[in-house]
């Protein structure tokens, strides 16, 4: 069983009887003592047998989950997010334990999570790329997501756009997506624009955001996103698809090239998936790589795809990265 810092605090407030057991190494206990708890000190190999509800605490809440499972402890809870999440909850009254599996990553940590929760991301296009990108970003705790699409859900979308079901056919994609995305994280704000980005509205749509994700299905809109991305200094995370292949790039960040520098010849009508066909997994992969690059940019993780074009081939799972 697990218990969150918020739930444990409720136990404390209600005077419920429990025994906290700190299994961390001594140096970790000294470096970050558990705030407002008086734990029994133990180690991973010898958990004391106490006739009480036990709350096992390690640094990130992962080791204790394993111990409870392996030893088949019946009256024991693992503190989700561990000492890190507990102490942060005591300090800021904010429970980060939900994201403990990513804050445990040294590149993310609590500071990175806070950046994600303050971030404002625009996704242009809520089709095959936009759906998985939006889902992953919401699950990761992005604070504000603006989703832009003027299209309605069609039967032929469903195989690659997992936010929508048959009952949604005919509804505006952004409206359905907002409902589904808010279920993933009720604390996040999802703004919708039920229109297509164009030269007249693009500036206002992208202005004020930290990153714009290009999840469109056409090159002319992509070129507009690139122009506004440059003009506003908002990095663009690009994704493109062709049958079993995908492209991902991060443009217009720290002096890097833009989409129009890479593809200077405008093509208004090339093959889109309606013409060439596609399995739904491919946009799932590429949209998730776009979400990953977005997270890396927000948190400041390197290496990333800034100034590079990654090409992925889903047929033999090969990749090639081109420096721009």
């Amino acid at each position: 069983m697990i218990i969150t810092p918020q739930e444990l605090q409720k136990w404390v407030n209600e005077g419920k009887s429990f025994t906290a057991i700190d299994i961390r190494p001594k140096e970790m206990r000294i470096e970050s003592p558990l705030s407002k708890l008086e734990p029994v000190i133990a180690n991973t190999k010898s958990i004391p047998s106490i006739n009480n509800d036990l709350v096992l605490i390690c640094q990130f809440g992962i080791v204790t989950e394993g111990i409870i499972y392996e030893k088949e402890l019946k009256n024991a809870y693992s503190l989700l997010g561990g000492a890190q999440a507990w102490n942060e909850f005591q300090l800021a009254k904010e429970d980060f334990s939900r994201w403990s599996r990513q804050t445990v990553l040294s590149e993310i940590g609590l500071e990175g999570q806070k950046r994600l929760m303050k971030a404002k991301i625009v996704i242009v296009g809520m089709g095959g790329l936009g759906c998985p990108a939006a889902q992953s970003l919401m699950a990761a705790g992005i604070g504000k997501l603006k989703i832009v699409d003027g299209d309605t859900v069609e039967l032929s979308n469903l195989h690659r756009q997992p936010l929508y079901g048959a009952e949604d056919i005919g509804r505006m994609k952004v409206e359905v997506a907002k409902e589904k995305l808010e279920r993933l994280n009720g604390d996040a704000i999802v703004e919708i624009e039920d229109l297509y980005l164009n030269k007249d509205n693009g500036y206002n749509i992208i202005n004020g955001s930290d990153i714009v994700i290009d999840a469109t299905d056409n090159i002319s809109t992509r070129i507009l996103i690139d122009q506004f991305s440059k003009e506003l200094g908002v990095p663009m995370v690009y994704g493109g698809l062709f049958q079993y292949e995908g492209q991902i790039g991060v443009f217009n960040v720290n002096g890097c090239k833009g989409y129009s520098d890479l593809f200077p010849v405008s093509q208004s009508d090339q093959d889109n998936c309606a013409k060439t066909g596609m399995l739904g997994m491919l946009p799932g992969i590429i949209g998730n790589i776009q979400a990953l690059e977005t997270i890396k940019l927000i948190v400041g993780i390197t290496p990333n795809l800034a100034g590079k074009l990654l090409m992925y081939d889903g047929m033999n799972h090969s990749t090639q990265t081109i420096m721009l």
Partner: protein, 81 residues
């Protein structure tokens, strides 16, 4: 003579039916000349497709003279999903 490797992506791969090919060319051959050759091999299937070019995994904006062992990638813009 020089030997170069061509890497084909999306529509180029589709048009040529190959992901890679090796060409033996005259010394002094440029990327622009190779592009013409590729378009010819594609039997007009690439006529409306613009191609960006990378040599040895680095994008180039202007044609350059190729060296023996170079790897040339032809990258079309693609749409989305």
């Amino acid at each position: 003579m020089i030997k170069i490797k061509i890497k084909c992506f999306s529509q180029v791969k589709y048009a040529l039916g190959k992901k890679e090919l090796v060409l033996e060319l005259e010394s002094g051959t440029t990327t622009q000349e190779v592009e013409k050759l590729i378009r010819k091999k594609a039997n007009r299937n690439l006529d409306i497709v613009s191609l960006s070019v990378a040599v040895n995994k680095k994008y180039i904006s202007k044609s350059l003279v190729l060296n023996d062992g170079d790897e040339v990638a032809f990258i079309p813009p693609v749409q989305g999903g």
